[in-house]
Symmetry: C2
Subunit: 306 residues, 2 copies
């Protein structure tokens, strides 16, 4: 398969154009998003949905994820990633839709999966799910990156036809290290330098140093596109394109920042062999046995899903 | 001399009451601050002054400090502190009022020194000055601390009768790691645990781990007092009490965050022997030959100082 987004092959970085659509369906009145939301996703690469869950649903989701954080011993140990330099502070838990009934229902919920199907123009499956927990006081930063760059090079995701949904489980304020985005950068592919080390994911998930853009491209992106940091209350959903440049600062406030992170990929965009020089990352980071979220999983909008 | 604020002596932390005033002068119409500003400083421990410098003055100040950053080889090498883990990125330059004519005039300027004399009710001198430069992309956090705790234990500052002024030299936005404050915490003294290591300043200025409050006190402070992060344009001046709890997150944005930091201490509060177990820190971190900023340094408000 031709590699239309080569990265980590050269000692020189460059900006390549996106050759894929952003929104794969044409908008009409039956779409699960408004025309303005669809246009914003197309041009800026992200949208925020507010008040789509009831407070009961949010409460149960928070209780379930809190339980996972407090009892990591009940989880698959491979799915638990700690903060850099810590033996205790949980940074991320992967594959949460396989380890929590509430999250399993959440990812299949039509209010989320339906939007993913519309934007990606295809049946969808879960490429990755994770609980990102930036603890209070000692939460470290996530440096700038395009998720697609890693998923392409390390997992073998062929094209830009995936998106992420971040479901806020705690207030994201300006102060507790909220996700920062550079709107519009999803239309450009900033290649990275450096060979991927063996078992890179064992360190990169704690602190990413390979697969990050060069300073010059980040400075140019920030100058041209600016930086936004959507904040919100628990239950808000931030949806962003797989190639949007994003990152977050550290969190020294005592307020943890907690998000359930769900990556939907189009069935037509299933993984192939990685485009980099390493074997594929393990299953809990990148699903290789893709099964579409089918109608049996679709729970009517009126039912309390959680 | 009796130690009214003992810290780093016990394995238990506690909250001690402040036994010193915050504002040492009674306000009247001749004061260099409004009554509202004076009241805010008394109750919240900080105020922000905007538009007190002309754009020409700000421009020259930025040019002079930029020169120091670009030519650290021209500076006293002891005064230059690098970012943790870096051999190049400047984090702080100390004693800038001795190394830059523009800063020497700035610290003596009546618009700043006059406010310090009023709030501290005494002649003042410069306890410490520094350029805090949080570089873009790789600027690390400053963890929560009370400056007074360090100045008392490591430098021998007897009482809470000092204040800091942070003169913004670059835009401080919500995203580039602005200073965060917990308003009102200047009225409480959170003691710290841990013995001060020998030559602690050689590491603490890069990353502070001793002289920081315990998690429980920080959580209680944030719950009770909240967190603010004043943002502003170059030339704004943030004035805060020596005992106000403050810190800042990392900065992964490409926008550097740069502030000139000036600490005024009351002449009656000159340093004595440190209250901790180590010899005093060197002169460039804590002035021991205090000389009041005298009338000869007072430049009339109408004159262009920079």
């Amino acid at each position: 398969m031709q590699d239309v987004y080569p990265s980590r092959f050269s000692t020189r970085t460059e900006i390549l154009p996106r050759v894929d659509p952003v929104v794969y369906c044409r908008w009409d009145a039956t779409a699960p998003l408004t025309r303005a939301q669809t246009d914003q996703f197309e041009t800026e690469g992200y949208i925020v949905l507010e008040d789509i869950f009831s407070s009961d649903e949010v409460r149960q989701l928070r209780a379930d994820t809190q339980h996972m954080l407090e009892r990591p011993d009940e989880l698959d140990p491979y799915t638990v990633v700690l903060e850099p330099g810590s033996d205790n502070d949980v940074r991320s838990i992967f594959r949460i839709h396989d380890q929590s009934a509430a999250i399993a229902r959440l990812v299949a919920d039509e209010r989320l999966a339906g939007v993913a199907r519309f934007l990606l123009g295809d049946d969808v499956y879960i490429h990755q799910s994770r609980l990102n927990y930036k603890p209070g006081l000692r939460g470290k930063e996530f440096y700038w990156h395009s998720d697609f760059e890693t998923w392409h090079v390390e997992d073998g995701m062929p094209r830009m036809r995936a998106l992420s949904m971040s479901v806020l489980l705690a207030p994201n304020t300006a102060y507790n290290g909220p996700l920062m985005l550079m709107p519009g950068t999803h239309r450009k592919f900033a290649t990275c330098t450096g060979e991927t080390p063996e078992n890179h994911f064992l360190t990169s998930l704690r602190k990413q140093e390979i697969g990050v853009p060069c300073d010059q491209h980040l400075e140019a992106f920030a100058r041209e596109h600016g930086i936004v940091a959507p904040t919100g209350e628990p239950g808000s959903v931030l949806i962003f394109d797989c190639n949007l440049m994003h990152g977050s600062n550290s969190n020294i406030t005592p307020l943890p920042r907690s998000n359930a992170f769900i990556v939907y990929n189009a069935m037509q965009n299933r993984l192939v062999q990685p485009f980099g020089n390493q074997p594929p990352r393990p299953h809990h980071l990148a699903t290789r046995d893709a099964r579409p979220l089918g109608p049996v999983n679709k729970i009517p909008k009126t039912e309390n899903i959680l």
